[in-house]
């Protein structure tokens, strides 16, 4: 029974291939817009949330002339190889108004040493850290020991270990995806730094002189006590450490990005809304043309023994099936374009971007298909009842004339 009903509906669709194609195209465009827009919007939001969680300091000191690179680090997680003296954190930690200080050092490995692509090595002090820890604490609550590592989501491990410069390190945790270069980072305790550099030298990996020296830092993160002025503290830092650093304000950067994000998601939302309304109008128009052109057919089917209810069910089912198909096409097209190019979209918007996972995308597709299906049905229902309500003989006579 169900099989014959489906066959009957499909034959109806086939018999009006032109209109069915118009409906498929319209619903596909609508679904593409909804899917792409909502995926971009949610990915930007997720990227922003992630960034919020990792921008855990009031000010960040970076080597003089490295401000831009450091901002890229914060925004897109792109590591740089910039260094200043390894004692900067010690020099500033006791300044009045500073509540906590932690530092990090970044190295880049050569791809041949461990991985298919270049990985970033991040050394941090688990005892003073307040930047990396909160970010990974859902994955790993213990303090990182020497020769233990935490890896980003894109790093492939073998039996829970990773080989770097010829040495195996135990991977104690793998981080969730961030949509940035952090995904290809390996996190070490600062204790491991000297031995990693020694291994790198032994393997003849390229190291600059200052990297070989080992007593270096890439950035110092500082949190202030309440009521203290950032400028006063920075002035004091200059006095203690000398004119060796530039200052980056992560939270200000975050606020300006939040404003950007709000604007972008507002625009995306407006485009979705306007597009949705326009396409609803187009669906109404297409349905009115399709159903008007089917008056005689409906009249004939009525005189051949199909009740009004059955005709209404048939017409609505046809619209439903065609719009579901169109919606699936649109969503898949959206997934094919938006998901693989997500990283590029994030980069071109200069925003952190964290694309959806498989389950998230599937749920999104189901949700959008349901919305488009309902919109298509609502847009057709009035016409369906208009057509099924006509006198069959009068409609057939009109055709004969």
């Amino acid at each position: 029974m169900i099989k014959s009903k489906i066959r009957s509906i499909l034959s109806g669709v086939k018999s009006r291939i032109f209109y069915s194609t118009c409906l498929v195209i319209t619903t596909a465009v609508l679904s593409f817009m909804l899917f792409s827009g909502s995926i971009i919007k949610s990915s930007l939001n997720k990227g922003m949330d992630n960034m919020d969680r990792r921008l855990g300091s009031d000010i960040m000191l970076v080597p003089k002339g490295s401000r831009e690179e450091a901002e890229n680090l914060l925004l897109e997680g792109q590591r740089g190889t910039f260094y200043f003296d390894g004692s900067v954190d010690d020099k500033v930690k006791d300044i009045e108004g500073i509540s906590e200080v932690t530092s990090q050092c970044f190295l880049k490995s050569l791809s041949a040493d461990c991985c298919s692509s270049e990985v970033e090595l991040v050394f941090y002090d688990p005892d003073t850290d307040f930047v990396v820890g909160p970010w990974i604490e859902t994955n790993y609550k213990n303090s990182l020991k020497k020769d233990d590592v935490i890896v980003g989501s894109d790093i492939v491990t073998e039996n829970g270990t990773i080989k770097l410069f010829g040495k195996d390190y135990e991977v104690v945790s793998q981080m969730a995806k961030t949509g940035t270069a952090l995904d290809s980072s390996v996190y070490f305790s600062s204790e491991s730094m000297a031995s990693v550099i020694a291994d790198a030298e032994e393997k003849n990996s390229f190291l600059t002189e200052e990297q070989k020296d080992g007593d270096i830092l890439s950035s110092v993160f500082i949190n202030l006590n309440a009521g203290y002025n950032e400028d006063d503290v920075i002035r004091e830092c200059h006095e203690k450490a000398g004119d060796v650093f530039d200052v980056v304000y992560p939270k200000q950067l975050n606020e300006s990005l939040s404003d950007n994000l709000l604007r972008i998601t507002d625009i995306v939302g407006a485009v979705i809304l306007i597009g949705g309304v326009l396409l609803f109008g187009i669906l109404v128009l297409i349905n009115s043309v399709i159903i008007e052109s089917r008056k005689q057919e409906v009249a004939l089917l009525r005189v051949l023994g199909n009740s009004k209810g059955k005709m209404a069910a048939m017409l609505i089912s046809e619209t439903g099936i065609v719009s579901l198909f169109g919606s699936l096409v649109g969503c898949l097209l959206g997934a094919l374009i938006v998901i693989p190019f997500g990283r590029y979209i994030g980069m071109s918007l200069s925003m952190p971007y964290l694309g959806p996972d498989f389950i998230g995308s599937t749920l999104q597709i189901i949700f959008i298909m349901a919305i488009v299906f309902l919109v298509a049905l609502v847009s057709s229902i009035v016409f369906v009842f208009h057509v099924t309500g006509i006198e069959p003989y009068l409609a057939l006579k009109k055709e004969a004339e």
Binding site: K5, S8, I17, L300, G305, G309, K397, E399
Partner: protein, 213 residues
């Protein structure tokens, strides 16, 4: 079998009365024809007898059941199994084959294979079995008319009501259609046609003539 009592019909717009208190009865096995000049109300009369146009006054009874007192669902059942109407125009969907046009309206009621087999047998009987797989636009008017009659006869209704089934057709095709309908009536069914075709006298058991009012 199918009886009308004092049916009257007048157009809503100009109030012209087209049928006035017409009594008629169609018996089992009978091939009956309605003749009359254009505008005499032949088509209107057939539509009322078929249960698809409600008269202003009067009743139409099929086996003692008033067609216009039935619910939409009950009337649809009668149209599917008992009274089938063939309109004057040949309405076919152009993107599906002739066979699909014939079978699809009933596809939910019976297994498709059985319906197709029966449809091809009827098409062969009317001399167009070879056109089953063709598209409607590949057929002539006469061929389309025959396909429309096959569609009406497919479920074996007790009554076929055909509006001008031979109009515009050559003599040979017209005779073939009338012959088919006559045979159909003789199988214990009934046929009512509206026509201008004088050859009907050779086939019809009963002819009534309507006058233009």
């Amino acid at each position: 079998m199918l009886v009308s009592e004092k049916i009257t019909y007048r157009y809503k717009k100009n109030k012209r009365t087209i049928l006035n208190s017409v009594d008629y009865s169609l018996e089992e096995g009978q091939f009956s024809a309605v003749m009359g000049e254009s505008g005499s109300g032949k088509s209107t009369f057939l539509a009322i007898m078929a249960g698809i146009l409600k008269p202003v006054e009067g009743t139409v009874r099929y086996n003692d059941v008033d067609l216009y007192e039935l619910t939409d669902k009950e009337l649809s059942k009668i149209h599917r199994n008992s009274i089938c109407y063939v309109p004057q125009s040949n309405i076919m969907l152009k993107n599906i084959t002739v066979l699909e046009n014939i079978v699809n309206p009933y596809i939910e009621a019976d297994p498709e294979a059985d319906l197709k087999k029966k449809a091809i047998s009827l098409l062969e009987k009317l001399g167009i079995g070879n056109l089953a797989g063709n598209y409607p636009y590949e057929l002539s008017g006469g061929e389309l008319k025959r396909a429309s009659i096959v569609r009406a006869a497919l479920m074996g209704p007790k009554v076929i009501i055909a509006d001008e089934p031979t109009t515009g057709l050559d003599k040979e095709t017209g005779n073939r259609i009338l012959s088919f309908l006559s045979e159909y009536a003789k199988e214990g069914n009934s046929v009512l046609v509206a026509t201008h075709d004088e050859h009907i006298e050779k086939y019809a058991d009963k002819i009534i003539r309507l006058e233009r009012k």
